[in-house]
């Protein structure tokens, strides 16, 4: 197939013209973007920019999982929801925002809690998994489900003035979440955005960077942050990238002889479930 042969519509060529011409994209890259399907877990602070930049760039199908409804105290950071949608499901709200900017995107919403009972039915339908969740149990669940279904996992997190980003299970040597953190922290040591707050621009930076790595995974098949952790301290204005250990051959889920072959009870494993009220320190 020649470079000039492609299946993009005239409208798509016009709409994506400023993105098509970039190094490493082209019409072939734009076709890959159009033909890809990305699953985002969490429609909050990180989910908003991730979903919008993916929809805007032309990702063909987006799945969004969230059980929660929009609240007034979300609006300082969750910029794709709005005052009129308070009380509406976040999934429905994001779907509406996506449709506005790119009506060609197929949006599949899952307006319930991701759990060990449903994850393995949903994950196989997508190419890339994105962790925009807000609690430890869900992060272990997403990790294990990504590995059991063999999908790369683009993980972002934020708290206060800080953010972190990495890509798990992406290439032979790339570790997973359990390779780095085999044992969950005790619930009393975990703080979350509801208790400790987070600033909107922090999730904006991290979520935008997640969207970027997702696009690179789609068009190039690789990410700059596989096996690397990007640390962002917004208060100090410092960014740094650190090298993570390679995949552990004895990892219980991604190692050579995995002991985890089905999803577990993550609330029990972590001592706290996704909807539990965090304990105070």
């Amino acid at each position: 197939m020649s470079n000039f042969s492609h299946s993009l519509s005239k409208d798509d060529i016009e709409r994506f013209s400023r993105q098509l011409i970039l190094k490493g994209i082209g019409t072939t890259g734009q076709e890959k973007i159009r033909d890809s399907a990305v699953l985002i877990v969490g429609a909050g602070g990180l989910g908003c920019p991730v979903v919008m930049y993916l929809a805007a760039s032309g990702v063909g199908r987006l799945g969004i999982i969230d059980h929660d409804v929009v609240a007034l105290n979300n609006l300082h950071r969750q910029i794709m929801h709005d005052e009129n949608r308070i009380g509406l499901l976040k999934t429905e709200s994001l779907k509406e925002s996506i449709n506005r900017i790119n009506s060609a995107v197929v949006v599949e919403i899952y307006s319930f809690l991701l759990s060990e009972a449903n994850a393995l039915e949903i994950f196989p339908n997508y190419d890339i998994i994105v962790d925009c969740s807000d609690n430890v149990a869900t992060r272990y669940l997403i990790n294990d489900a990504s590995i059991l279904t063999n999908k790369p996992l683009v993980s972002g997190s934020a708290l206060g003035w800080e953010g972190q980003l990495t890509v798990y299970h992406c290439g032979e040597k790339c570790p997973c979440y359990r390779c780095i953190f085999p044992i969950p922290p005790k619930p009393e040591f975990v703080t979350n955005c509801s208790d400790n707050g987070v600033l909107g621009p922090i999730v904006g930076v991290v979520g935008s960077l997640q969207a970027l790595e997702i696009l690179k995974l789609i068009v190039q098949g690789t990410s700059s942050f596989a096996g690397k952790l990007w640390l962002f301290d917004g208060y100090a204005g410092e960014t740094r990238t650190i090298s993570l250990r390679p995949r552990r051959s004895d990892c219980p889920v991604c190692g050579q002889s995995p002991t985890i072959k089905n999803l577990e009870n993550y609330a029990r494993f972590c001592g706290s479930g996704p909807t539990d009220k965090p304990l105070n320190l």
Binding site: D134, L159, T191, C193, V198
Partner: protein, 99 residues
Amino acid sequence: MKVKLYFSGGSEILFGNIKEHKVILENSSTQWTIKDLLSWISNNLLKDSDRSELLIVNENVRPGILVLVNDVDWEILGGLDAEINDGDVVSFISTLHGG
């Protein structure tokens, strides 16, 4: 020897919310390791803290904290046996879960 300690992701609250600490470790005839450093932190920086288990449990870092020596994952460098030398930066990064 001089070593810089860096705490982030929440573990800095043990140190008055100050993230960077320059410390001087006495030169010893044996090689300093992370294990030695944890014991030094317990005895010097955390001695009056009733929340030291936010960082150190059973002479190891608590689950959920990633240790870096000069921006490299300590697991690559030997974990508790990872060596520390003059001028090194040792970071204790709490993993974040919010979104």
